[in-house]
Amino acid sequence: MKLQTGTSLALYSILEAAGNPERQISAADIATKYDVSIHHLAKVLRELGRAGLVESTRGAGGGYRFVGNAKRLTLMDVIELFEDIGTRQPYGAAGAAVTDTARALDHVLSEIDEIAKATFRSITIATMLRLVERHGRGGNGPRHP
């Protein structure tokens, strides 16, 4: 599963901002940390601002702050602002003939899509931040409560 660059930048930005609620995150910080284009990032942050997920402040010490609800905002909510992973174009619609083979292949591909969507819908930013922390501690397997 590969997300578009803008979508990944949006997720990095949201996780950085939500993970550091006490401080303003600057676009330059994120660009440096993830080694990405600051222009592209600025565009992404504007979009997140329009969606009401981050707020920007100008001036010295200015930057971005997460203002969404980390316990309810899901990965899917953020992804959907930048790309449409929800609807697969059936092969027929792409100009190819709708054959039994195309339909069967569509069926298999949509199985994969449905799993991806359910995964993105069920992981909130708060859950993601806990996962980030676990990876930071060097673990990536499931935590046993």
Partner: protein, 154 residues
């Protein structure tokens, strides 16, 4: 119902008793829309009274009131996997949700699984039940290396 706090000491988590069963059946029926009285009596018989370390059927109660339940067991070598804990039922009364009771129920059954010597816990969820999927994700669960499959066998 007074929702209270799922973490408060006046809510205790203990093995189910016969007198709790009707409330468990009613809670499940309210959530799933299907009343399965025989099924729950059967589970009570197998898990409630003589479950040992392998089978767990726990309720979260405040006084006589059942606010939630969790049920699961240790399954040995199922689907070729080493013994692990399975949670196959977990519900919290709608008025008692989002106060930590679901987390407590899961943590308590996991303690039971640990006592039984297993170190992995699994569950199987409907893909479109986003609430319960989000809950288990929030507890740290990730996709297991299995894929559920099915077919019609008219």
């Amino acid at each position: 119902m007074n929702a209270g706090n799922g973490n408060s000491p006046d809510i205790s988590i203990r093995p189910i008793a016969a007198g709790d069963l009707d409330q468990v059946i009613a809670l499940d029926a309210a959530i799933t829309g299907i009343e399965k009285t025989d099924y729950w009596y059967e589970l009570f018989h197998r898990y409630g009274t003589r479950g040992g370390d392998q089978r767990h059927f726990l309720v979260g109660v405040r006084g006589p009131q059942v606010l939630g339940y969790v049920i699961g067991d240790v399954r040995d070598w199922e689907f070729g996997s080493a013994p692990c804990g399975w949670v196959f039922g977990l519900s919290v009364h709608p008025d008692a949700r989002q106060t930590g009771l679901g987390s407590r129920l899961l943590a308590t059954i996991c303690d039971g699984f640990r006592r039984a010597g297993v170190r992995t816990v699994r569950t199987l969820l409907a893909r479109d039940n986003n609430l319960i999927l989000s809950f288990f994700r929030s507890q740290g669960m990730m996709a297991a290396p299995y894929i559920p499959l099915e077919m019609e066998i008219e």
